[in-house]
Structure formats: C-alpha cells, structure tokens
C-alpha cells in the first residue's frame, strides 16, 4: 500500500523532462566530438544522487544546514589551497582521481542553507537580512577569486531570488539591487583580465573578431546557421568542424541550435520551461516553508543558468562560464543538478494532499483510494 502510494504521489513530469534533457545533452556532446561516455557515467551517478535525495525526507536536512555550510566553505577553501589550475583558474579538486568542482556543488548547498535559515520565520528582519548576507559573502568571495565569475553570478541570483521568495522586504531587495547597480560600474576594476575583456567584447563584439570576440561571433553564427529546421544531427558545419569553442560546455547550446534549428531550440526551451513550472508548483504544494524555499531555490538556480547560458550563446548576455543544466558536459554540474531535482522530488513526495470529496463522516479505516494527487 505504502509503495503504491509513493508511486502515485510522484511528480512524473519533472524526471521525464530531466531525462529528455539528459538524452539531448548526450547527443549534443556526442556531436561536439566530446567524451559522451563520461557524460553518461556522470548521468548515472546523478540518477543515483537523484534517487537518494528523493527518498530522503528533506526535512532531515534542516538540522544539518550548518554542517553543510561548513562543508561548503571547507571545500572552497580547499580548492584555493590544493585545487588544480586550468585556463588560468583554480576550480577543481581531485577526489579519487575524478575532478570535482566544489563551486557547482556549492550552488545546491547554498539553496539548502538559505532555505533552512529563511524558512524559520515568514518575515525577514534587517538583522536576519544582515546575517544572510554575512553567511553568503565568504563562499561567494571564495568562488569569485578562483576566479569563477559565472558561478558567482548564479550565487548572487540564488541569494536574491530566495530572499524574494523567503519574505525579504521590498527595501531589503531594493538595497541589494542598488548595491548591484553600484558594483557593475566597478566591475572592470574588480574583474580578472580575461573576464574584463569578455565584458568589453560583449558590449562591442566586432572589436576583436579573431581574438576574444571570436567565441561570441562563432556561437552566434552557429545558432543562426541552424535556421528553422536545423542542419540536421551531426551536420552542423560550425560545430562539427570545431569553429565554435568550448562546444561541449559553455557553447553547447550553439551546437544544439545549429543542428536542430529554431524548432529544436524552442522545444529545448519548452522542456526547460516544463521543468521550471514543475519546480514552481513543487514550491506551491510544499508542506512547509523549508520545502517551499528548497523548491524555489532550485527553480532560481536552474532558471538563472538556462537564461544566462542561452543568452550568451545568442549574444544578448555577456559571456560567463555557466553550463546549460543537463546539456553541458561536466560531472559536478550534472550530478548537482540531478541531486537538486531529487531534493525537489522529495518535497513533492511529502506534499499536502487534497481530499477529493470530504466524507460526511470519517471512515473507521482510512481509504487511500479516496485520496487524489493534487497535481
């Protein structure tokens, strides 16, 4: 009885959308001549993480939040101390021979930590607002100085989004927005050389068509060359011939769009949209504020990454190294995303139930068939 009940409670649309994305991701990575078998391995590990997170009662994480926060800071400090350096950034820890990117994992840890903190009260005093900022600042600084601008942006977006969902006052949100507006003009001075260059090139892509602006232009060309129906799977000139850089990671969307065209791209966005709507609904049906904020945080985390990644691929947002969830090649990101979705599923499984027809008298024995899924 119990297992059947679990089966009926499951949000099927959410894992179905995630599975579809993972399949499209492996196909695109294969077309980009990257190591698709490794990506399949990451997905298998990610599915395990999903199942583990879904079967775990998320509420058990509540007391663990401080421990998770400590673990996150520990990992990020470890990256700075013993991390591997590649492409001018120190981002990877070698764990049992596998490269682990703690900044990816820290996105989810931040979601859980903020949900735990903000979920305790329905409104946010200025004092607690200050504590949230003070808690978020050290990991954000550690990520920014790796340097990893992309993940820092996602970090900031999760913070802002969860403060909004978690009852932040308009004045608090406005003060954060103003702080951001003040920081942006200062960015050129705060950024690492290549990051500053990326920003300049975003503002004027043709200024350096063969240097740093190359990526942006080639990605745009690839997306445009896809046309309405696309060049066909494995028939993208730009992607197959290697003109698009980072084509399995940052610019994977351009490769996808070249092969599958507008039709495929809109379908991909629709799948992401479905996933996001399911997460939002998960937040709406969550039995408590902790669950609601976990679902909302995962929503913000994925939403920001999709918008920024697609936006930079089509040249409407500056380039920042942010993966397209479940599509881009990468173990840490894939496993983190699937674990986050599993956690949201855990919230769904523990949601409130709606009584189909309130019985006039309560039966002696509870009849599960009278219970209907709310979704």
């Amino acid at each position: 009885m119990a297992s059947m009940s679990v089966w009926r409670r499951l949000d099927f649309a959410q894992p179905a959308a995630a599975a579809l994305l993972a399949v499209l991701g492996v196909m695109t990575i294969y077309s980009a001549n990257a190591d698709w078998t490794r990506q399949v391995a990451w997905i298998v590990l990610g599915v395990a993480a999903y199942l583990a997170a879904a079967s775990l009662d998320y509420r058990r994480l509540l007391p663990l939040a401080p421990v998770m926060y400590g673990g996150m800071v520990f990992l990020l400090v470890a990256v700075h101390l013993v991390g591997r350096t590649a492409l001018g950034a120190r981002r990877w820890l070698s764990v049992g021979g596998f490269p682990l990117e703690p900044s990816e994992l820290s996105k989810l840890l931040l979601v859980v930590m903020l949900a735990a903190f903000l979920g305790r009260q329905s409104s946010l005093s200025w004092r607690r607002f200050g504590i949230v900022l003070a808690l978020a600042a050290p990991p954000a600084a550690l990520i920014l100085t790796q340097p990893d601008l992309g993940t820092t942006i996602v970090f900031a977006a999760i913070l802002l989004g969860m403060l909004f969902l978690g009852g932040g006052r308009p004045a608090q949100l406005a003060s954060l927005a103003i702080a951001a507006l003040v920081t942006i003009p200062a960015l050129p001075y705060l950024l690492h050389g290549y990051q500053r260059r990326r920003l300049e090139i975003f503002l004027n892509p043709s200024s350096d068509p063969l240097g740093a602006g190359y990526n942006l232009l080639q990605a745009r060309i690839a997306v445009g060359a896809g046309g309405f129906f696309g060049q066909g799977f494995l028939h993208g000139l730009q992607g197959q011939l290697g003109f698009v850089p980072e084509r399995a990671t940052d610019f994977v969307f351009a490769i996808f769009a070249e092969q599958f065209g507008l039709l495929g791209s809109l379908l991909l966005l629709a799948i992401f949209g479905t996933l996001l709507v399911r997460l939002l609904k998960t937040a709406a049906v969550a039995p408590d504020r902790f669950g609601e904020l976990i679902a909302g945080g995962v929503f913000v985390m994925l939403f920001v990454q999709v918008v920024e990644n697609v936006g930079m691929n089509i040249g409407v947002l500056p380039i920042a190294g942010i993966p397209l969830p479940l599509i881009s090649y990468g173990g840490s990101a894939t496993i983190t995303t699937l674990a986050a979705l599993g956690l949201a599923q855990s919230v769904v499984l523990r949601r409130r139930l709606v009584v189909h027809q309130p019985p006039a008298t309560y039966p002696e024995v509870f009849d599960p068939s009278a219970v209907r899924l709310s979704g």
Binding site: A2, S5, V6, G161, F164, L165, L210, G211, R220, I221, A222, V223, G224, A225, G226, G227, F228, L237, Q238, Q240, L241, G242, F243, A257, E258, G261, L262, S265, L266, L269, F272, G273, L276, V277, L280, K281, A283, A284, V285, P287, G296, F299, V300, F303, V306, V307, V310, G311, I314, G315, V316, R352, L353, V354, V355, Y362, F366, P368, V371, S374
Partner: protein, 625 residues
C-alpha cells in the same frame, strides 16, 4: 507515511497548492525571460539565418588555388632552357595558430629560427594576412629546414609545408638577360591583375621573356573547394577544376649558337681587358633572333629562390651594371657603322653615284669648326665602296652636308633607328634619331636661337658618321644590318619561334613581319654592300681575322668606333662591328658591341669572326626546322 497523510487529511489541511504572490511573480519573470529568448532566437535563426549560414560556410568552405605549372621555355630545337623544380615552402594559416598572444608569439619566433626569416617580417606578414587563408612564408626551404620543420610540426598548429614548383634556369647567367626571371608580384600589379586570377603571393615574370610572355607562360590556375575544420585541416573536397599548364614557348634562340656567341664575346672582352659588351645575331630572312648576349650577366636562379639583400646589393652597386641588358637597353652612338645609312641616302637622293669621287682630307671645316677624319693625313680621292672600306669620315661629312639633317633622319628612321623594336620582352629602348626639330624640342632653353637649340651644319655632318646625338642599341644594329643584307626590309625582330599549348597544339607560329621597307634601289644598295664586302677583305686589316680563323670573308661588315661622353678630341669610345653573311644570299646578320672598346677592327670584329666560325660549321643544324 499514510498515517501522517491521514493525520493531515483529518486535520483538514489546506486542500490546494498555495500560489503566493511571490511565487506567481517569479514564475511570470521566468515566462517573460524564456519568451524573450525565444523571440531573439527566432530573429537570429529565421530572419538572420540565411546570412549567418553563409558566414558559417565561409568559415569552413575554402577555395584552394591549384597552381598551374608555368610553361617551359625551349630553344628553337626543343632543348629545355628552364625547368620547374619541386621545392618546399612553409605555409601558415594564421587562424589555426594559437589564439593567445604569448603562445602565438612563441610559435612565430620558433618559425623564424627554423626558416631564417627575420622575426619582424614574419610577424608583420602573419598580422597582415587573411586569417583563414594560407600564407606562404619566405623562400623555399632547404632539405634540412624541411626536415626540421616536419619534425616539429605536431607542436606547431596552423603550420604546413607546401610542395610547389620553383623556376630553375638551366643556363642562368648566359641566358639570364634573354629569359629574365620570375619573382613575387608587386602589390600594385597584383591589384591590377587580380581580375585575371593573380594571387597576392604569386610569382610573375619580372624581366626578359618571362615577363614579355607572362600571359602565355602562366597558364590558368585551377581550384578546389574544400571543407576545412577550425584547425585548417582539409576534411573533404567538394569540387575541383584542374589547372591548365602554361604554354610551351620555343624561342628563336639556338642554344648552341647562343653559347658560342657568349663564349666568343666573353673571350674577346677578356683578351682586351673589357668588362662589358653585347651581341645580337639574327636571321636576316625572318627577323628571328638566333642569339642575344649581354655581358656581364647575372645568376637568375638567385631571384627565383628569393634573392638575399646582400646579393641584390652586390648586383645593383656593381659599376658594370650586370642587371642592364645591353642588347636591348644599352643605348650608344653607332659611330661609323651608321655610314651605310648616309651612303644609301646619298645614292638614293642623287647626291652621289657609286662612282662619284670625293676627297678624303684629314679634316673639313663647317661653320667655323673643324671636323677631323680618323687619319691625320689625306687619303686622297675615292669612290663610295672605298670610302666605306676605309671608313673615311670626311667623305661622309660631304655627303651628309649635301643631304641635310631632315633627309638623313628620314633614312635613319626607315632603317629602324629610333624605334623600340617590339621584342617579346619589356625594356627595349628605342635609341634616338636627332634632327633640328628634336634639338629645338629638347634643348630646354626658351630662346630657340641659342646655341643649345640651334641645329648646326656641324651637327649634320657628325650625324652623317653616326655621332651627334644619335643613339642605337645592339638589337637595333642587328635589325639594320639585316635590312642591308636582305634587300632593304626592316624586319620585326622576334624571340619566339613557336608557342604550343598544354595539349601540344601550335597556338602561335613565327611569322616574318616587314615593319618597313627602306626606299632604296637594288643597284644602290648593292653599291653599299660592295663597300662592306671590301672592308672585310682589306688585307693586313679585317681580312686577317677571317684568314686566321679559317672563315671565308664571304659577306659584308662595317666597324665603328663611336665617341661618347660629350665633345672634344680624346673622348672615350665604344667599339662596334656589324656583319652579314654570306654575301650572295645572306642567312645571318649580327651586331657586336664592346663597351669602352677603342679599336673596333681589333676588338669587335674578331668576335664576329668567331661567331661565324661556329655558324658556318653548324649552319645546317641551326637552320634545321
């Protein structure tokens, strides 16, 4: 679990999802953002799709030029004079090189070390090049360089070694002035010729026949449309058009006669301690140039392999001007070799007859100035033939004075003086025929009555013996003596015997073109030729050289020792000899020029005799079809 849910249900928990305002707001934000991305995507993929797809093709589909083999140049009997030797050069696709500045700089500096091309030149070339095109770097590689680069190739992205043909001249110095050489096209020329498919790094004929017959020799490049990946590696070929090799050019030059002429000229110059000279041998029946030599020559192979600064500086600063093709571009006064023109004019205009006896004093005065004969004593009275044979200047002063400069100039021009001969190579100089109009036009003084502008009788009489401002070239002289030999036809000189296309069909065969016929009767011309025969048969003089060499003095010749470098008595001279043979039916005519020669009978004439010795011994081989 069920117990828990039951508890909730029993407690009357909220029956619906709670859509808080903030959840709805953030949902709307997501819908808006994804909608905006969709609109932008539609714009990019549908509105701009076609143009961006074209850019994608331009990225990856490249047209590779397949170079046509340059036409081979042969002598008149089909002996090759050049070959297209295989060579290797370095090619770089800048786009495929490392994108970061330090890595690229390191690669460029390594290439500089491997090829010996200066770093600044290499950097500039790569920066200025089409990033997706392949740039050819520097001269051909030596075998060691080729090996060294091949070994390092895996560590040098964007670098490849291309095999191509290098023009190699088999007789680089002797035939250098005739064939010329190929070299990198000038940027301005490349722009002008780009419509005809010339590439900016193309090698074109720079001088000589290589330049004159460039359009024939070049052929038509083919192409291949290839798909390349981002590293510049060819993935597959879409379409090709095979190149059409350039035409095979059979020169009118006889290689062995050319070598013999060069040897005779070189030996003659060396014997008399002279450093420069030229000779042109033509067939007076057709106008074909059988041999053309200008000494000193230079090694044209230096140029095709990319000449070094030092070698080039050595050539340009050499006082003997080895780069000057004296045969076509050296302009000198003809001196006494011009006297046949004065003789023809005098006879034809009725001023003298072949039997008219004129004195040959040691000097004559015209306009208060004294004009000397070469002899300081009187040679007595003589007829025309004798005057030609002993080359009496004062005899021809008298004839020229009667003719006047305008008539003399008319005859000179009829013989081809003063006109560039339209040979199949650039740089042919016309020489100069002076007269009073020329002097007024070029004196450069506004007052036409000044000495500088006024033509004097002295100018006329010196003009009559091939001095004054008169200038000619060895080629001009050969055409002139050929006209005397063939009865008065000034023939278009030509270096081309035949041109065949790549499939062996004759596309151009030499045709004799009569440019001008000198208005002279056979009788009068015969009298002049008689004088030329008499000159080479003078005992103890020219006849000695013929007898010594065992060559019959059957023909006609005229020496000339021309003063140059201003006016005065002891001026430096050039030595000339013009000659045709045999007397009755001439089939060879030639001019010999010895720069700074002092005595034409001793310095120039023996060279012609040596050429004739070879010619007589090999007449049939030379004239074989």
């Amino acid at each position: 679990m069920i117990e828990h849910d039951r508890w909730l249900t029993l407690a009357g928990a909220v029956p619906k999802p709670r859509w808080s305002f903030r959840l709805v707001a953030i949902g709307c934000l997501a819908v808006t953002a994804l909608g905006a991305l969709s609109i932008k995507l539609a714009q990019l993929q549908v509105t701009e799709g076609a143009s961006l797809a074209a850019l994608a093709r331009a990225n990856s589909v490249h047209r590779v030029v397949l170079e046509a083999d340059r036409g081979v140049i042969y002598d008149r009997h089909g002996v090759p004079l050049v070959e297209n030797a295989p060579a290797w050069t370095l090619e770089v696709v800048p786009e495929a090189m490392p994108p970061t500045t330090p890595a690229r700089a390191a690669e460029v500096s390594e290439l500089s070390t491997l090829t010996g091309v200066p770093l600044e030149r290499l950097t500039a070339a790569i920066q200025g090049a089409d990033p997706y095109g392949s740039l050819r770097i520097g001269p051909s590689l030596t075998e060691e360089q080729e090996l060294a680069i091949s070994e390092r190739m895996p560590a040098l992205p964007g670098v490849s070694i291309a095999r191509h043909a290098v023009r190699t001249y088999l007789y680089p110095t002797i035939l250098g002035h005739v064939l010329g050489y190929v070299g990198p096209i000038d940027p301005s020329q490349a722009r002008k010729l780009s419509s005809r498919g010339y590439q900016p790094d193309e090698l074109v004929g720079k001088v000589g026949v290589e330049a004159g017959l460039e359009s024939r020799l070049r052929g038509v490049d083919g192409w291949a449309d290839v798909v390349v990946d981002a590293r510049g590696q060819v993935v597959r070929t879409l379409a090709t058009r095979a190149p059409v090799p350039g035409d095979a050019v059979f020169l009118s030059i006889d290689l062995k006669l050319e070598l013999a002429t060069a040897a005779a000229l070189a030996a003659g110059l060396q014997r008399d301690h002279k450093t420069a000279g030229a000779s042109v041998v033509v067939d007076p029946r057709s106008g074909e140039v059988l041999a053309m030599v200008s000494i000193p020559g230079y090694d044209t192979n230096l140029f095709t392999h990319g000449i070094s600064q030092a070698d080039y500086a050595k050539l340009t600063s050499d006082p003997n001007l080895p780069l000057l093709n004296r045969a076509i571009a050296g302009q000198y006064a003809p001196g006494s070799t011009f006297k046949m023109v004065t003789a023809v004019a005098g006879l034809q205009e009725g001023k003298i007859t072949p039997e008219t006896m004129l004195s040959c004093p040691s000097y004559l005065s015209y306009g208060g100035w004294v004009y000397h004969n070469w002899a300081s004593y009187s040679l007595g009275s003589m007829n025309l033939a004798r005057a030609l044979a002993v080359s009496c200047d004062t005899f021809f002063y008298q004839v020229a004075a009667q003719l006047g400069d305008i008539t003399l100039a008319r005859y000179a021009r009829a013989f081809g003086f003063g006109s560039a001969m339209g040979l199949e190579m650039p740089g042919v100089q016309p020489g100069l025929v002076p007269d009073r109009i020329w002097k007024e036009l070029t004196c450069g003084v506004p007052d036409l009555n000044s000495d500088a502008c006024r033509w004097t009788l002295g100018d006329t009489v010196t003009f009559g013996i091939g001095q004054s401002a008169l200038l000619t070239t060895p080629l001009n002289q050969a055409v002139y003596v050929a006209a005397i030999a063939n009865g008065g036809n000034v023939l278009q000189p030509t270096l081309v015997h035949e041109i065949r296309d790549a499939s062996g069909h004759t596309v151009l065969a030499q045709k004799t073109v009569v440019v001008d016929h000198v208005p002279v009767s056979a009788f009068n011309l015969g009298a002049v030729r008689e004088g030329m025969r008499e000159e080479i048969n003078r005992p103890y003089n020219l006849n000695y050289w013929f007898r010594a060499a065992g060559v019959p003095a059957d023909g006609g010749g005229k020496t000339g020792t021309a003063q140059w470098g201003g006016s005065g008595l002891d001026l430096p001279t050039h030595a000339w000899f013009v000659f045709f043979a045999p007397f009755a039916k001439p089939d060879v005519a030639m001019s010999i020029f010895v720069e700074r020669g002092e005595l034409s009978e001793v310095e120039a004439a023996p060279i012609a005799v040596q050429v004739m010795r070879y010619f007589n011994a090999n007449r049939q081989a030379i004239q074989a079809a």
